[in-house]
């Protein structure tokens, strides 16, 4: 059992997402960095899709009211348990009464923007429409269909001392699978239906620009600042399904990348879509940072998906091996 101590905003319970209900207008939600959520679960021997707490605003603190295994992945937020510093992407065990404190992610070798607090057995909230992710718009799923507040208590699926071996970690995927362009986060995209209907100068600018992630960026969408993108002629589309990663360009000329809580349909022109395999990179890119888009191909995009699948398989193998060794120690 953990109690939220921070008077925090924008912290929600998420798993890998809710799929299969687009035809009712229910989008996927789910972790902005699914690799971090899965890895934190793997460190604890949980199902990869177990629910966790996604923290976006720091500092953030919880008190453990009972002994429990936990892991913190995602952004390096100088985590500490009481006064003991914890390494990033690491698992540990808290005793009753201990406070886990996540600080503001600092500039370093890699700066993420979201952290995942996983608990042994997963965060125990009801499964709604097949998932434990928070559906904020519909006000269901996760913890009471809303962001966490000070005083909220969450249960772990497998509380108790010594339930799972802890005290080891993983090298984050940002280091294992780096993707940078001139020092900036690079995001691979596939052109979308209206790509050709933008002016040649706008298309060139889309690829060349160092897009800045503005403060008006969140789980619904990332509003980017940079050169104005103009269609050759005004485009008015019929409403159609969209997915996280779709980059819309409203008439204002500044692109908005739809993210996990975006509406599952829309009608603004689409210039490109972020490939599935790079959504985690975007989910960790901090507000105020710059990014560059790289044009991918269908084949390269599938290869990138294979790469992340292989990375996850390695993490599965390594953590299973380690928990087995530690169990016999």
């Amino acid at each position: 059992m953990i109690e939220v101590l921070s008077d925090t905003a924008l912290t929600t319970v998420q798993d890998l997402g809710r799929f299969g209900h687009l035809s009712w207008g229910v989008g996927s939600s789910g972790a902005m960095d699914p690799l971090a959520l899965a890895a934190g679960n793997l460190l604890l021997g949980n199902d990869e899709n177990a629910a966790a707490v996604e923290v976006q605003v720091f500092p953030f603190a919880v008190r453990f009211h009972a002994p429990c295994g936990f892991a913190v992945t995602g952004a390096d937020c100088a985590a500490r348990l009481d006064d003991q510093p914890l390494l990033p992407w690491w698992s540990g065990e808290a005793a009753a009464g201990q406070v886990l404190h996540l600080g503001v992610p600092a500039n370093g070798i890699w700066r993420g923007s979201r952290a995942y607090l996983c608990l042994a057995g997963g965060v125990d909230v009801p499964c709604v429409l097949g998932s434990r992710s928070t559906q904020l718009r519909g006000a269901f799923g996760g913890h009471e269909g809303r962001a966490l507040r000070q005083g909220d208590r969450l249960r772990a699926g497998l509380p108790g001392a010594g339930v799972r071996p802890t005290g080891f970690g993983l090298v984050p995927p940002a280091l294992a699978m780096p993707l940078l362009s001139e020092g900036m986060v690079a995001i691979r995209v596939l052109p979308a239906a209206e790509y050709e209907r933008f002016t040649p100068a706008s298309r060139d600018a889309f690829w060349a620009a160092a897009w800045k992630i503005t403060p008006q960026s969140d789980r619904y969408g990332y509003r980017l600042a940079g050169p104005r993108l103009d269609p050759v002629a005004p485009i008015e589309l019929r409403s159609h399904g969209i997915v996280p990663g779709v980059i819309q360009v409203p008439p204002g000329g500044q692109p908005i990348v739809q993210m996990r809580d975006a509406q599952p349909s829309g009608g603004y022109p689409k210039i490109a879509t972020v490939i599935d395999a790079d959504l985690w990179r975007l989910g960790e890119a901090p507000i105020g940072s710059r990014l560059r888009f790289l044009e991918s191909t269908w084949e390269d995009a599938l290869a990138a998906l294979d790469e992340t699948a292989r990375w996850l398989a390695k993490m599965r193998g390594l953590t299973t091996l380690q928990r087995g060794r530690a169990g016999r120690a």
Partner: protein, 219 residues
Amino acid sequence: MSLGPPVISLLGTSALLFEAPGETSLPTQQRIWALAREAGRWPEVRETAPGMNNLMLGFARPPARVDEIAARLQAAWAAVEPLPLRGRIVELPVTYGGGAGPHLTDVLAHTGLGVDDIVAIHTAPLYPIYALGSHPGYCYLGGMDPRIATPRRKVPVLCIPGGSVSIGGGQTGVSASPGPSGWNTIGRTDRCFFDLHCDPPALFRPGDSIRFRVERVIR
């Protein structure tokens, strides 16, 4: 909208978008419903999400070859018969204008029509529900009179209340919960659209029809 073959495009590696040619129409939407039913059985497809005369296929696993599934989709479209879903008629009482319809003045400015004309034109038709999308329980409606069409807003509004009745381009719709919108809100209704205790949780579906009834007009 020029006539031509359907357009198939990629939405990253997660989904495929199929857009039917021609003017938006109910017979075309009925063929979209049939296409959704057919494509929903394909092993690569996790789910289908019809839109306004279009269909999104969400992949369970992206296929190795896009051109193969695109060809299959074109062939299925050529072969499907319209699926004539016929549901209930739902009447929604609406308060137009004032705080309930903050963008009614933008619709007046764009169309050059008066408040009473806009309300009369908006409440006249029986609107078939073409598809759900946008947010849980939200219904996309066909059949709006083009005289009151107003382009989507240049900058989307951060939050409009649930029950907001809006116009975006040539379409009208009602939001089922509070949230952002790029459409022009002209009124509000109190009806519920999504209930997790029901199966399916969306209370209205493609094939149902909606009629707006004037409850009140705030000038």
